[in-house]
């Protein structure tokens, strides 16, 4: 299987699977494991065959089913809650409300402002009010419906602009955070000024599997919660505080994660389940319906952005003024972090000598907002790229050229005063997508081969189709920002010829467990690496967000593996009388630099187990100060996208024909996985650009289902060409690798909007792009 031909050490392990049949000495054979290899995920087969167990598939002896009563109103005062009818129903074991929460009544990341159950006020449609455990899911649902709640309806605050003046929705006030960024001279003006108002809609992460959890009471009075948490330790601490238990007595066991585009799982489900399990002494399970999932989990912040760009006659940016208003929904969640990203990246990856950005995150009675890939950065990208297009049109400069004239490079300053020290090959990225050949026009093809906007059975008419090309350049930060303690701990164990990784970094589909296997393969030269399931008995690894596991947890795994390697080789080196650095491990065999000495890992271990635990903690960051200045970010990643779209300008229907991507990745650790992540990110971005918007009406979510909320299908997903992956290693990151998943999500909506702008001549200042914004009276057909 592997190419190392030497047979000296192979005698001891003659029947290794894959080694025995036809192992000809072909040293040129590419490696099948280690870094840089497209190692398939260990669970890929189980997932494709449908036998991989998710939380919704779990069952336990004596299982009860839970159901939540959720608020049908976006804003109301609770006058009374009568649970007696529900509790008296046959089969119902427990009904709990806010009065039954033994610990902290409120929880939240950062700010504990969200009640487990609404007590006096409901602040958004779908907020949990009570929970029921019963012996059948239908009974639980019926009992939840039988709980009588008397509401006094209050006027919902649904317009974030009205939140400032409105009555406080919460004791903490309506303003969650305000950042007034001041950078440079406010008096400077440019020769050319362009202004724009941009609106970004509410994208839902819409994970393929809705939220589900199983809570099992423990004999010691604690509780275990089986769920697809992406930040198990934070969820455990939150749960323990609400249950009034010590954190050690609450254990979160992470099950398979069926899709995570941000924060996965909803404490609004896990917390009631834990309480019900503690109350009834039975395991309790809940699998959320799609509707519940849409109502309750965090969405992308709907954002209103007002921009004024000043430039000189050559198109060099002079000053950017911006106002950014994030609709956080009723609770703070991670809105403060999203706002920091929005304000810091408000000017994009461009050199801007003077910048004045006001950012606010405010409470409303709209659905909750929180961490969704690229939060903050995605909304401003759509706006500043819209401004760059406006500037290009005003000055008659090519849109790619005006971007190149202003583009950022390593050593430039962010408007937060932070110097960009990491590789920033943004110009190279943009040139790569610009110079990639454009897709052929379908003029000469027969009509049947041309997928028109509107689809194969749609109403598209070639004569009404215009083609447009647009560019987007975007950036995100990696790891937690503003002084967040980004630390991860990993343990590596070697027994025989098998290595085990124990690390609480959750595999959310981002590929961490595959990466951990590759890292250990690379360092220890063992092919067989097992990554243990995650629970909170392991040391904390933090949330799976902002690419932190590739960096921080991957770094911890590497260090632990190196420590094991040293432990393994030190006695041998001593025995051979050479430094252990002169020994190499490959395919389970240890060889000296000169090839004279050779033994197997199993022999060297001699039945012992080797363990090592290590931590990785990147250099610290600092919070933004009261003028929005500070070294808030550990690292940055960049991406350039060129979108080609066809627009039926009479119907306003848009089809993305091609997306060309160039991305700054530091180093490709698993090529297939990297490509898959980029394609997934681009597709999510196309959804945000064209169809994905969870609509509300007076704070009520309209049509919370996958018919009303249109995700991109395979027909909506174009050819995605990954034109270039720039591998300039980031010296501070382990392996030099940067996070991959978020930046295409951030950049592609801006590129699609730019392309629709080019096709229609319309301003396109709202995402998702509505058909009426893509209707144009531009005469002449494609190429005509």
């Amino acid at each position: 299987m592997t190419g190392m031909g030497g047979s000296a050490g192979a005698a001891g392990i003659p029947d290794l699977p894959g080694m025995a049949p036809s192992a000809p000495a072909t040293p040129a054979e590419p490696p099948t494991h280690g870094l840089g290899v497209s190692l398939p995920a260990a669970d890929a087969a189980a997932k494709t065959q449908g036998v991989f167990p998710y939380a919704a598939d779990l069952w336990a002896e004596g299982l009860l089913w839970a159901a939540l009563l959720r608020s049908p109103h976006p804003h109301a005062r609770i006058v009374s809650i009568d649970t007696s009818a529900a509790a008296a129903m046959a089969g119902v074991r427990a009904v709990i409300t806010h009065a039954d929460v033994p610990g902290d009544a409120a929880h939240g990341r950062g700010v504990a402002d969200r009640p487990v159950f609404a007590s006096e006020l409901v602040r958004h449609h779908g907020e949990p009010i009570a929970a029921v455990a019963a012996d059948h899911p239908d009974t639980a649902r019926l009992a939840a419906a039988a709980i009588a709640v008397e509401y006094e309806l209050l006027e919902p605050v649904t317009d974030p602009e009205q939140a400032f003046a409105a009555e406080p929705l919460h004791p903490d006030g309506n303003l969650i955070r305000h950042i007034p960024l001041r950078f440079g001279d406010p008096e400077v003006t440019g020769e050319v000024i362009v202004e724009g108002l941009y609106r970004i809609g509410r994208q839902d992460p819409a994970p393929i599997g809705a939220e589900a959890a199983l809570a099992v009471p423990r004999p010691d009075g604690g509780v275990e919660i089986y769920t697809a948490s992406t930040d198990p330790h934070a969820d455990r601490d939150l749960a323990a505080a609400c249950f009034g238990l010590a954190p050690e007595r609450v254990k979160i066991v992470v099950t398979g994660v069926p899709g995570a585009m941000g924060d996965r799982e909803d404490p609004g489900i896990q917390l009631p389940l834990g309480l019900l399990a503690l109350r009834t002494g039975h395991p309790v399970k809940l699998a959320a319906t799609r509707e519940e999932s849409f109502l309750a989990h965090p969405h992308r912040h709907p954002t209103l952005l007002r921009y004024r760009h000043h430039a000189d006659a050559e198109g060099k940016l002079v000053k950017v003024e911006a106002q950014i208003l994030l609709d956080a929904g009723a609770y703070a969640d991670s809105s403060a972090e999203a706002l920091a990203a929005a304000v810091s990246f408000a000017c994009g990856p461009y050199v801007v000598p003077h910048a004045f950005v006001e950012g606010w995150a405010v409470r409303t009675n709209n659905p909750p907002s929180g961490h969704v890939r690229g939060e903050g950065a995605m909304q401003v990208c759509a706006a500043y790229e819209g401004q760059m297009d406006k500037l290009a049109a005003r000055l008659g400069i090519d849109p790619a050229e005006i971007r190149l004239r202003n583009i950022m490079a390593t050593g430039d300053l962010l408007p937060t005063g932070q110097t960009v020290t990491c590789p920033a090959p943004v110009a190279e990225l943009l040139r790569a997508v610009r110079d990639f050949p454009l897709p052929a026009l379908p003029l000469d093809d027969s009509e049947a081969d041309w997928l028109l906007p509107g689809g194969p059975e749609g109403a598209g008419e070639p004569g009404a189709v215009r083609r447009g090309v647009g560019y987007g350049v975007g950036m995100v930060h990696m790891l937690g920002a503003e002084g967040a303690d980004e630390v991860s701990t990993a343990t590596v164990k070697v027994t025989g010829s098998v290595a085990t990784v124990i690390c609480a970094a959750v595999e959310t589909g981002q590929g961490f467990s595959t990466l951990a296997r590759q890292i250990v393969q690379e360092v220890l030269g063992l092919e067989e690496v097992y990554v243990a399931p995650v629970d909170t008995d392991q040391p904390p690894c933090g949330p799976a967000a902002h690419g932190r596991h590739t960096w921080v947890s991957g770094g911890a795994v590497e260090r632990a593996a190196r420590m094991v390697r040293t432990q393994l080789l030190q006695p041998l080196a001593h025995q051979f009388g050479m430094s252990h650095e002169l020994l190499t491990i490959a395919d389970g065999k240890i060889t000296s630099y000169d090839g004279v000495l050779s033994t197997t890992v199993a022999e060297a271990l001699d039945g012992k187990e080797l363990w090592a635990t290590a931590q990785c903690r990147p250099h610290p960051t600092e919070p933004l100060d009261d003028t929005g200045q500070g070294d808030a970010f550990v690292g940055l990643a960049f991406c350039a996208v060129r979108a080609v779209v066809d627009v039926d300008v009479e119907l306003g229907s848009v089809r993305v024909v091609e997306m060309a991507v160039a991305q700054d990745v530091g180093r490709v650790l698993n090529p297939r996985q990297a490509h898959a992540r980029i394609e997934a990110g681009i597709t999510q971005g196309i959804g945000a650009a064209l169809t994905e918007n969870l609509r509300t009406n007076g704070g009520l979510v309209r049509r919370p289902d996958l018919t009303g909320y249109s995700l991109p299908t395979s027909l909506d997903t174009p050819d995605i060409h990954i034109v270039k992956l720039v591998e300039e290693r980031d010296v501070v990151a382990p392996f030099g690798a940067k996070a991959i998943s978020a930046v295409p999500v951030v950049t592609s909506p801006a590129a699609v909007a730019a392309a629709v702008r080019a096709a229609t001549g319309r301003p396109v200042n709202r995402l998702p792009i509505r058909p009426q914004s893509a209707v144009s009276s531009n005469a002449g057909g494609l190429g005509g």
């Binding site: 069952w59 059948h136 004999p219 509107g454 749609g458 299908t713 395979s714």
Partner: protein
């Protein structure tokens, strides 16, 4: 003892019927009773003929007929509907095909969208075939039926505007082998309803031997519900163009004045072509008929838009866009039918 040993994966949740009771686990009082619904196996009937199906429905008034189940089972799965019994129509072979009758096609209500989308069917009734091909992803088209589309009468049902434009007639089977006919428009508009124990057996559609089109605007490139749809059929024998607009109202709308006007313009004995301007005017006519201006407000509104009485200045932008979409679809549909 490790609690997690009790946790394992199963594919479906268990009910008492399949798993047996565990007497030790029940508590006291009301909580001691179980509500696990006994799933009796005899609540699903699979009749082999239309009359048997009607009999089965008459025997169990609470039973719900199910054909493809694409709408019904979604409602069942989401807990919105709990039918006491089901009468499955999938084994009634007499309604899964079609036959010819006096210049008409008698379409079985059990015809699937996938079957109607095939070329042999498209040669008979092109617009219905086009609607069937546009009606969702392959999984839905394989299961969903013509009769189900009519019975669920969703505003976005793709077959409905075509049937309305074709002036199709439903043949409804009732108790005792009775048959009665209902024009499809009457059922969709609620003039006539299906009685208890009645089933849509067949749909009689005239064979017009002339071009027909069905066009649908959606929000994405992949399969999606219509935001607006237009069916146009030419009836050379009666020298008439018939048109119906779907998805903009609870039922398909027939712009009768626009039909009559455009029918009078066409030279039925000659080329049957129209100038592009005429097609465009037809589109506007259809759109204005289906999405009318709001009733004029007294005095103030009239005073505000005096110049050329710009239609629709008081409609919200989204509605204006819908009207423009209908106009474009109707223009294209007529243009393609006459091409």
């Amino acid at each position: 003892m490790c609690q997690s040993c009790h946790v394992r994966a199963v594919s479906t949740y268990r009910t008492a019927g399949s798993d047996g009771q565990q007497p030790g686990t029940t508590g006291e009082g009301a909580a001691g009773l179980t509500t696990h619904a006994p799933q009796a196996a005899n609540t699903v009937t699979l009749p082999g003929s239309l009359d048997e199906a009607v009999e089965a429905l008459a025997a169990m008034p609470a039973a719900v007929p199910v054909a493809g189940g694409t709408d019904l089972m979604a409602a069942v799965n989401s807990g919105l509907l709990r039918p006491a019994a089901l009468v499955g129509l999938g084994r009634i072979s007499e309604i899964r095909g079609w036959q010819y009758q006096d210049g008409h096609a008698l379409l079985g209500a059990g015809l699937t969208h996938a079957r109607m989308g095939r070329p042999d069917f498209a040669a008979l009734i092109p617009a219905l075939a086009a609607a069937a091909r546009a009606a969702g992803p392959p999984q839905i088209r394989n299961a969903g039926t013509l009769g189900g589309n009519i019975a669920s009468a969703a505003p976005t049902g793709d077959a409905l505007p075509v049937l309305a434009a074709l002036e199709a007639t439903l043949i409804v089977a009732g108790p005792g082998g009775s048959r009665r006919e209902i024009p499809v428009g009457h059922l969709l508009a609620g003039f006539e309803m299906l009685g208890p124990g009645e089933l849509i057996g067949y749909v009689r559609v005239p064979l017009l031997h002339a071009p027909q089109t069905f066009l649908k605007a959606t929000g994405r490139t992949g399969p999606s519900r219509a935001t607006a749809s237009v069916a146009v059929v030419l009836d050379p024998a009666r020298r008439h163009v018939r048109c119906a607009v779907g998805a903009v109202a609870p039922m398909p709308l027939r712009p009768l004045d626009a039909e009559a006007w455009v029918s009078s313009l066409i030279d039925w004995d000659g080329e049957r072509t129209l100038a592009p301007e005429a097609c465009a005017a037809f589109g506007e006519y259809v759109a204005a008929a289906c999405i009318p201006d709001p009733a004029p407000e007294p005095v103030l509104e009239a005073a505000q838009s005096p110049q050329h009485g710009e239609p629709g200045t008081t409609l919200p932008p989204a509605v204006l866009h819908l009207r423009r979409t209908v106009a474009t679809l109707a223009r294209r549909a007529l243009g393609r039918a006459l091409a």
